[in-house]
């Protein structure tokens, strides 16, 4: 199982800040694979993960990650917009 976190407008759009994602037994999923899986959960997901829906970033276990980064059971995967602090 993977813990998924959403921040800023992604959370607003989905109406949730976290949820879980069950990995298939054979594992071996990338961030992109999980995004594809999440898209099937509804229109809001389609929207936030759409090409051109706005740039989004991700982190695996609180480290910035790429779309092809591997995700393993127990990982924390976060999706968020480009950061705007400071």
């Amino acid at each position: 199982m993977v813990e998924i976190l959403y921040f800023a407008w992604l959370r607003d759009r989905l109406g949730r800040s976290r949820e879980t994602f069950v990995l298939p037994r054979d594992g071996g999923l990338s961030v992109r694979d999980i995004m594809d899986g999440l898209r099937r959960r509804g229109a809001a997901y389609e929207e936030i993960f759409a090409e051109g829906g706005g740039p989004i970033r991700c982190a695996v276990n609180q480290e910035f990650a790429a779309l092809d980064s591997p995700v393993r059971a127990g990982d924390e995967l976060a999706f968020f917009p480009p950061v705007t602090g400071g």
């Binding site: 800023a8 607003d12 609180q62 480290e63 910035f64 968020f80 950061v83 705007t84 602090g85 400071g86």
Partner: protein
């Protein structure tokens, strides 16, 4: 290097933070500082600042460690506020203490430039009419951080 990193709702006192740094020893000759404030753009009422607890602190720690490797620093303090901040309120404080002013000021620029692009904070603009808008990242911030070639803390 003495490092102090805080993410908090409360405001901060520069006098208190500088006294703390000055008290750590008498080798400090200069302190560089940057204070970010909520700018009152186009009728803005307040900013709401959100962050990713855990990742925020570790990313800032990495940026500060990188600054310590690159510049001859004695101490670095970073305080970043979260929550709702009215126009004019301080958002962020970076303090870098060194024996000499060059290192102190350069490190201050390094830390704030990387913080802007690497620390997971997000700003939402709240307007008096109830409208809210998430702030978009600025390409100029990426460019400012990229000036510090080969210093990307996310690759440390």
């Amino acid at each position: 290097m003495l490092v102090d990193i805080r993410v908090q709702e409360e405001t901060f006192s520069l006098d208190a933070e500088i006294a703390r740094l000055a008290a750590t020893g008498f080798d400090v000759g200069g302190i560089g500082a940057f204070i970010g404030l909520v700018r009152g753009d186009a009728g803005l009422a307040a900013l709401a600042l959100e962050h990713y607890p855990g990742m925020t602190e570790s990313m800032i720690a990495r940026i500060v460690a990188q600054a310590g490797t690159r510049f001859d620093l004695l101490a670095c303090t970073v305080i970043h506020r979260v929550g709702r901040l009215p126009v004019g309120a301080p958002i962020v404080l970076v303090l870098c203490a060194a024996a000499h002013r060059g290192a102190a000021l350069e490190a201050t620029g390094f830390v704030i430039d990387w913080l802007k692009t690497q620390a997971p904070f997000w700003k939402r603009e709240d307007y008096p009419d109830g409208q809210a808008r998430w702030v978009a990242a600025r390409e100029s911030d990426e460019a400012a951080a990229a000036r510090w070639d080969a210093g990307d803390p996310s690759e440390a």
